[in-house]
Symmetry: C2
């Protein structure tokens, strides 16, 4: 077994710590965040920090690091315009999705360079990713400052488009159906395979015996 204590974590190299702490939480969702500036410049950035906050109202969060150019574009556009989109990354375009993290000049759109196509649905202000099979339109609600200078961006789900076959009668999405992927750390992509589904658990349904 390998053990790292507080002192080890403080004194390890920057790259080693970045990789370790970014991969320590387990698998993360792979989503492309689409925005458009007031000047109509489209922006696209990959995020692995989208997190469910609540279902009613339908709120999602994501973490932004203000010192990073890519994320600053995204956050600036969200604050300025009030809208953004979340688009699931499927296995057939992980390379394009990953390279949206490249540092482009600020007047260049990742959509164009990575050959991902912007798509506008129902007059929603922010662009969706055409290649993405699960598309979510978000309205910005507020942001909270975190103790490390990062920001939790909170938004409300306003629009969802996904393939009929990806969702069942109970509202559950089958991630395998559209080959959704997960991210570990900063740069490693995983495919997903459904293992098992359990019933809603209440007191009377606890199995008598766990071996």
């Amino acid at each position: 077994m390998k053990v790292f204590d507080t002192q080890d974590i403080k004194s390890m190299s920057k790259i080693f710590r970045l990789n370790l702490i970014n991969s320590i939480t387990g698998i993360k969702p792979a989503n492309l965040i689409g925005t458009k500036s007031k000047d109509n410049l489209e922006n696209l950035a990959i995020f692995s920090s989208v997190v469910h906050l609540g279902s009613n109202p339908a709120l999602l969060g994501m973490i932004s690091r203000p010192q990073h150019n890519k994320l600053r574009d995204t956050y600036a556009n969200i604050k300025e315009t009030g809208y953004y989109t979340i688009n699931h990354v499927s296995s057939n375009f992980i390379k394009k999705a990953h390279y949206t993290s490249a540092e482009l000049s600020s007047d260049t759109s990742e959509f164009e360079v990575m050959n991902l196509n912007p798509e506008y649905l129902q007059n929603f202000y922010a662009p969706f990713v055409n290649q993405s099979l699960v598309k979510i339109g978000m309205k910005y609600i507020q942001s909270l400052d975190l103790p490390n200078g990062c920001i939790l961006i909170i938004g409300e789900v306003q629009l969802i488009q996904l393939p009929e076959k990806s969702i069942n009668n109970s509202g559950q999405i089958n991630l395998e159906e559209h080959e959704a992927v997960g991210i570990s750390g900063l740069d490693t992509y995983y495919s997903l395979k459904k293992l098992e589904q359990f019933p809603y658990v209440n007191k009377n349904e606890i199995p008598d015996f766990f071996d």
Copy 2:
């Protein structure tokens, strides 16, 4: 294609919305949160909302719904004692892990009922899960109130234990090595298979052509 707009989301049945909004973010990490009350009662609860906040200092967040008994036990213990553990769920104990969400009486420990074994490392106050191969010791830093009444619990990584073969020389964790799983929605578990790893991206490394 299936489309849900704001009005659809508001008027759909509670269960359908719970399932849809809980699964809309994509894959989520499966972690067991271990705590111990001041009275030495151990508690274990599954969380799918653990999120990376920053690497230096090494901060992780997770979302707690205060109205839910299980999570309230976890949050109460964290606030009271200042410590908790995050333990990766592997495929060989997903059923036990899932059933920690059952509502037990408050003097019963999920460790005992689910036959998961508490383990204490380096005098850390909170219990780890013996069956888990990646174990993280956390110190509570602060919590932030979210607009929906939920709470973002923020903690600092103080201790990490994992198998030698699960981590490479760059600090990257191989999730396949210990058969870590992901969660979709409230109750569906997925296995992970490594697809591809890309280099760190900078401007000069953008591929010339994306087809």
